[in-house]
Amino acid sequence: MADDNLRILPAAHLQRLLDTLCVRGYRTVAPTARDGAVVWETIRSVADLPIGWRDRQEPGCYRLEQTGAQEIFGIVHGPQSLKPFVFAPREPLLQIERSKDGFTARSTVPPSEKVAVIGTRACDLAGLVIQDRIFLKETYQDSYYAARREGLFVVAVNCTRALATCFCSSMDTGPRAHNSFDLALTEVDDQLLVEAGSIAGQEVLSDLFLPPAPESLVAEAAKRIDACARSQVRRLERSRLPSALYDAHAHPRWDTVAGRCLACTNCTMVCPTCFCHAVEETPDLSQQQTTHVRLWDSCFTQEHGYIHGKNIRPTIKDRYRMWLTHKLASWIDQFGISGCVGCGRCITWCPVGIDLTEELPALLTPSEQQSVINRQQEASGG
């Protein structure tokens, strides 16, 4: 018996999905080619999608290439994850005005907007789930994040092609979108397998009146997703985390990587899970009003490590070590899950191509110096 949630849509009819989402009041957002990569833009027509293009990603390098094929979702991803939709890069938190007997503060929680993001990858969805844990925890729910999250409708695309920088398979986050999506598409030549993953998704699906997906399409889609997982050349060996990375605190490899790291913040900006932010006051010259603004910040800036009277992470080594240890190890202690989803963006968008899948194994291999100490201790029976 065919799964009721699995339907078939000819790729040439994808516009119907966009139209249905529009009718349901969603602003439809999808990856569009701009400045040599893809970025999220509001689109109304399938023609705005980068059809026939693929991305090639390597450490520190991103290129778009035309394939001549009619592939709709040939590009895996650009620099942006889902993060900007829920955790805005810059947003006012409070509007404060001077009044006769003090001041008034007005909250600036944005109205919830219905946004459908088409082309979300499994890694980004995993990133969204992690950010949900951080921003929507019961006690400290972030109302700004919550308002944006409420209106989000996710149309995921299962990956059938892996980039050289992908390692979601080893992080158990992809290439298939598992949950938290509203609809998931798998592109198989000129057909799209459509799966509903939520009630909202089922509603959209029922509006489309699509025939059930034939078993052959379901099987072919699964085969291609599996092949994508197997084709990934990078992986992150997690079995000894978090403790092994804590033990590597004094490893000389931190010095080597710090020699390359620019502390430019790009890795944290493109990371789907990094949530650090700064708040700044922007008073006007007449001192009558000010806006309390939150903006993306990074643990790689000098300022971020500054506490009263002291910078606790002055050097680039301190900052890189803090970032990687948090992302891959202490995140697990803090949130019960790894902070890395294996999207590979930090590898691609690092201007000097630092690759965490290369750094981690190096850090977990005892250094020459440490091996000598260990041998000496063994020899002396201690």
């Binding site: 701009r34 400045d35 040599g36 990569a37 970025v39 999220w40 520190g60 390098c61 991103y62 290129r63 650009g78 620099p79 942006q80 900007p84 890069p89 810059r90 020699g259 390359r260 790291c261 620019l262 502390a263 430019c264 913040t265 790009n266 900006m269 493109v270 922007t282 008073p283 006007d284 010259l285 007449s286 001192q287 903006l295 993306w296 910040d297 990074s298 800036t301 000098q302 300022e303 910078n311 992470r313 002055p314 050097t315 680039i316 301190d318 691609t348 968008w349 690092c350 201007p351 000097v352 191509g353």
Partner: protein
């Protein structure tokens, strides 16, 4: 408040005039008593605030900046010239005498030092505004903080942070352009990368001229990337760093390293 000019193009002073409607609020919050670029009514010091544009390139200016300092409570440099010597600091690696011979019909009338140096090499500077020209929003923020009596602060982070907040695609990674953004201080709003071109460092090194552990920025790693992967030859790497802020310590040292490799 007073505004002084030394060796410069006046672009930073124009940034003050470009404040437009905010100028009215500025005029109410501060008494602008000396600003020859804007008004011929010039009142003598002492001054609470002096904004200083331009670098020191003549013996006379080297003396004049001392008198400005003596009359001023808070001296703030505005722009790359005043803060780091400016583009004219390229003379610091050249033979100024030969320039004079080539450019001027009567070079004997030119009274010029062989160097262009930032104001901070001559007198104590209370705060520095970087940029070529300065960003008017940053200027307004500093003046607002001065009026409010709070500590003056501007972000010292890289241009990359602002690029990513704006949703720009990285020109270095996606186009292979030798962008100085990763080691350049934010403040411009990432104008050049937003227009698809590479940053040329007009806001100087990240964190300005601060010294200590973690400073200056890792220009070495970026320069190696330009050379090894983006195929810049040493003189091209040198020219990336020896530009508008070429005399700022971090860029100066990186430039000199590549000069030796030429």
């Amino acid at each position: 408040m007073a505004v002084f000019k030394f060796a410069s193009c006046d672009g930073c002073q124009l940034s003050i005039l470009n404040l437009e409607e905010d100028l009215l609020a500025l005029g109410q919050a501060l008494d602008i008593v000396y600003f020859p670029e804007a008004s011929s009514a010039m009142r003598p010091g002492p001054y609470d605030i002096a904004l200083v544009e331009g670098s020191i390139t003549t013996a006379e200016d080297a003396r004049r900046i001392l008198t400005v300092r003596q009359q001023t409570k808070r001296l703030i440099t505005i722009g790359a010239c005043a803060t780091a010597g400016g583009i004219q600091a390229l003379r610091n690696w050249a033979d100024v005498e030969s320039f004079k011979q080539v450019v001027y019909p009567s070079p004997e009338f030119i009274q010029s030092l062989s160097t262009s140096t930032p104001i901070s090499e001559h007198v104590h500077v209370d705060f520095e505004l970087w940029g070529c020209p300065i960003d008017k929003t940053q200027l307004l923020r500093v003046l607002t903080d001065l009026v409010s009596g709070v500590q003056l602060r501007l972000p010292g982070d890289s241009v990359c942070l602002e690029c990513k907040r704006r949703g720009n695609v990285c020109v270095l990674v996606a186009k292979g352009l030798p962008c100085l953004g990763p080691v350049t201080r934010t403040g411009c709003g990432a104008i050049c990368p937003s227009m698809g071109r590479d940053c040329y460092g007009c806001f100087g090194p990240t964190e300005g001229g601060r010294k200590g552990p973690g400073f200056p920025p890792n220009t070495d790693s970026l320069a190696v990337r330009f050379h090894d992967d983006l195929q810049l030859i040493p003189i091209e790497v040198l020219r990336r760093f020896r530009g508008i802020n070429g005399y700022a310590d971090a860029f100066k040292q990186e430039g000199e390293k590549w000069e030796r490799k030429k």
